[in-house]
Symmetry: none
DNA sequence: AATCAACACTTGTATATACAAGTGTTGATT
DNA sequence: AATCAACACTTGTATATACAAGTGTTGATT
């Protein structure tokens, strides 16, 4: 693992992200000014400015000339050039999640799952089931199958601390993903976890992610379709 | 209309856009370096850099430290980053479609529709409703509101021959789009058009498209969620 | 001919500085 | 009490400068 010296503006960005994600800085609260950050981190104003600027582009902050910089309204659809999965969006708003179960599964080579993950004979898969909350309401169920060859220590993670997505991103940098979106009526178990009536349509995203070494995981994300929207923004 | 003096970096951005859009600079061709642009436009390197930087974020250019800046690959970005709307996919398989109705609508400035389309006082909207088929089965309902200023001859088109999407693409080259995906229970009219039971969840995509002159159209695409999938593929 | 160090050129990060322009507060004037 | 000009503070744009770091070419050495 090559340790690259982090650029100064990323240190400031990380700091601000942490303050927001941890809930220390709430919606609409004022963020230190460029000059304040510059002094605090002993950098020039332009460097502090870059950190604020990039976070603004990512939709975490909003800025107003003369007035200052503020933590963005969490609800706002901020996504650029990406189909963001719902969990990612929640993450930015300081989400909570409960791990329901994790397991090691043996998969038959001919099963669809094995094909999707590109598994060979007698390879195994890790499975995790995590429920995501926002404001104490269940908002998304994440069922994830992970290639055990590529991420051997997956099951040892404490998914109360870190989301599967966060862990996978840190461990095996993702280079690519495919998404399939369906509208479904979820089964009883999922409905009861999400606390929705079984007649309510849900959005279901099947997302496969790749690292440079192959398919890392297949995530099945289910969310009530009336509560949450999947936004995207694209340029031709 | 207050005429604001354009910032220097936008002048450079506009110039580069024009060179690419006009076809003068082809895919992968080398773009002048920061220093070259700085001299050409009599600005500092940092200002020229900003123009290149922002166009890179928009996906028009790609940059490589040491090597230079190049015009991005046109096709790859769009197909990779696109949520393909269901009609587009059908199109590739030789689809059929029936026009159900077309109309001219007056919209109140305060209505959501007027806001979404960026309409001013007393401007009008064209409305079209087209049902798409595959193998003689209804597969998607397309309800589309079109800015009558930007596409004045919309209603004159024969939508038995050409799909609204095809026509709009030819008429006002689309530069940008936002999509919102929801899982919904469609109303009775839509269900009967799609020939599905009213308990079946549907995928509903709200897609707004822009040309360089503004919002061109708002399309509401509804499809049975169990039959059809919305696929996408993205690169981080 | 093959090798490779030196070099010119490119983008990336960072600083210090200047002025423009918008916002909200403070305090003198009415 | 109401008004509003002055002011401090904020973000936005722009410049000049320095060095880091990656790339591709050139030319001397082998």
């Amino acid at each position: 693992m090559k340790q690259v010296k982090a650029a100064k503006f990323t240190i400031i960005k990380d700091h601000i992200c942490k303050m927001i994600e941890s809930g220390e800085w709430l919606q609409h609260s004022k963020v230190p000014s460029e000059n304040a950050l510059a002094e605090q981190f002993s950098v020039s104003r332009m460097t502090a400015r870059r950190a604020l600027q990039e976070l603004t582009e990512q939709g975490l902050l909003v800025r107003s000339q003369g007035a200052g910089t503020f933590v963005a309204t969490f609800k706002s659809q901020s996504s650029l050039l990406e189909i963001r999965n719902i969990a990612d969006e929640i993450q930015e708003r300081g989400h909570q999640h409960h791990s329901i179960q994790i397991a090691l599964i043996s998969v038959d080579v001919n099963e669809e799952l094995a094909i999707l993950l590109g598994l060979k004979e007698s390879e195994t898969v890790y499975y995790s089931e995590v429920l995501h909350f926002e404001n104490d309401e269940p908002i998304q169920l994440e069922q994830r199958y992970v290639n055990s060859k590529l991420v051997p220590e997956y099951l040892q993670q404490n998914f109360a601390e870190i989301t599967p997505h966060e862990y996978l991103s840190s461990e095996a940098p993702l280079t690519e993903a495919t998404n399939e979106v369906e509208a479904v009526i979820a089964n009883k178990d999922i409905c009861s976890l999400l606390q929705v009536d079984s007649s309510i349509p849900c959005l279901q995203v099947k997302r496969r992610t790749w690292s440079s070494k192959g398919v890392v995981s297949l995530a099945i994300l289910t969310a009530p379709g009336n509560k949450y929207r999947l936004g995207s923004h694209l340029i031709f």
